[in-house]
Symmetry: C2
Subunit: 343 residues, 2 copies
Amino acid sequence: MSELRQNRATKRWVIVAGERARRPDDFKVAEPTKPLPIHDPLCPFCPGNESKTPAEVLALRDPSSSANGPGWQLRVVPNKFPALRPVGDLERREEHDFFRKMDGLGVHEVIIESPRHNESIGTMTYRKVEQIMLIYRDRYIQLGTDPRFQLVTIFRNQGQRAGTSLAHPHSQLIATPIVPSRTRHMLEEAMRHYDDWGSCVFCDMIREELAAKKRIVLETADFVVFEPFASRVPFETWILPKKHNASFGNISAGETRKCARALRRVLGSMHRLLGDFDYNYHISTAPFKDANESYYHWHISILPRLTTQAGFELGSGIYITVAFPEDTARYLARSVKEGGRGR
Amino acid sequence: MSELRQNRATKRWVIVAGERARRPDDFKVAEPTKPLPIHDPLCPFCPGNESKTPAEVLALRDPSSSANGPGWQLRVVPNKFPALRPVGDLERREEHDFFRKMDGLGVHEVIIESPRHNESIGTMTYRKVEQIMLIYRDRYIQLGTDPRFQLVTIFRNQGQRAGTSLAHPHSQLIATPIVPSRTRHMLEEAMRHYDDWGSCVFCDMIREELAAKKRIVLETADFVVFEPFASRVPFETWILPKKHNASFGNISAGETRKCARALRRVLGSMHRLLGDFDYNYHISTAPFKDANESYYHWHISILPRLTTQAGFELGSGIYITVAFPEDTARYLARSVKEGGRGR
């Protein structure tokens, strides 16, 4: 039997298609026939090819090494083909008083996570993932000081189905001079919930998920990881801080490390269960000016790309998912528990 | 130089990435190494395999043939693995007063467009596409008489990248007991525009696109086809009736035929330019109860799947497109003109 379910934070409905439902162990992806090498001389992100990227904005490197040369552990560089650039002005113009546009003003950076070509978040050391997430935080805070930007979206595309052709481990961020429409919708719904109930809808969701105990993947002292009641895709997974906090930019270095450990632990288990699967994740956060609001709550959403979004999703906005999150969350939680807390 | 552009109807921003921009003729897809056969004995939609689908709801067939046997030109059947079924009730329930859900009540049908396995909308005869669209209209009107349904979404998935594994030409429809979130957002924005300007935002868009003459693909006496100013993907194309009309269910048989001819003409040109490309299209329409509103305007959106939606799009709702619609529209319009008006 199918169900229509509503996500109380986004107010979006999904269809859990009972007739098509697959078992959690049906989603495993075939391992690649040829594993990636640790170094690829043709990869623009591999050590020795630093000249193939724009000059680094920031790098973690050996004290004896030089900028834009080998000897680094992590590099942040502007995207060579940026969607937005930090030039132009903020004015919104209209052609015919109708077609509204503005300069493509913003920042688009790549976080090259590791010198090793064949690593991935789920297989890196815990310390390495902490390092990456601390860099996310540094860049987020730094870009927040530029009054031209409203919000920074940090995201990761893993694999071709997730929209990347570069296998080398990397994340990206884009600072925009506008509040993105998806964020605006979520803020509006969260504000409405706050007006109705006097509480943050995400805080309520955490409390209800912990009480229901049906979709929890991992609970630590500071973070909770679950598959949302109205998951859009199989194994969709959210990571939320237990403590109310609207903005990713507000968290401490210690919290950042703990979040990184939860992310590493969950993605490691997903790889054990799903093989070499493709996914996106992104950090949802309030715009800079709303960083201390009572109604929003930053979080990470992991969206595995195990199925393909088709015409109905594009036309209606309603996702059809072929797995019950109760089933996939139980399956994933068992693996997370078996995997232990990591080094 | 990149631009941020806003679609005035949806209020969603897109980024046209100037640095990554490709030329219109860069999007051509390789032809399949092995063309499809006209008949595939293993295909559940091919003649002779009628027993592999649920019993037909409606069929256009030779008078001498029997239901659920060969001798048909078009069949409408329930989806064998439906997302929704016409059973259950409309009550919305909550677990823990928080997790909102309802029965998966609705209708999910497949329109098997042709007995020929290897046809596609862009290569069928004009008469055939008229027949298909008249069936869309019949089913839309029929399902609108069921008070349990708010809206019917008609859509087509062409090719694997568009989310279908069945090559046989078919469309689908889903009747939902809720107004989908994407439709609700569009209705709200259109209503706000109406309150501000006293006019339908889509009527305004048609007038402004015709005046701008930059993105028009085809103009006929009754329909206008253009690539939106804030196109989300390369070659995104909208077909709108010139006459204001909120609901697809309101159009006459004559208008339906004219719309089908415009659709066939444009998709035929897209195939000439883009090869065996994958795409989705869907019909956006007002909910049944709002069928005569002044602020909404039904239309068809064609979304080619030439690029892949990645983490930034999922996280922000902002699409990054790598083509200027002015360029792709001009390229497409030339081919549409050369292709002529069809038989």
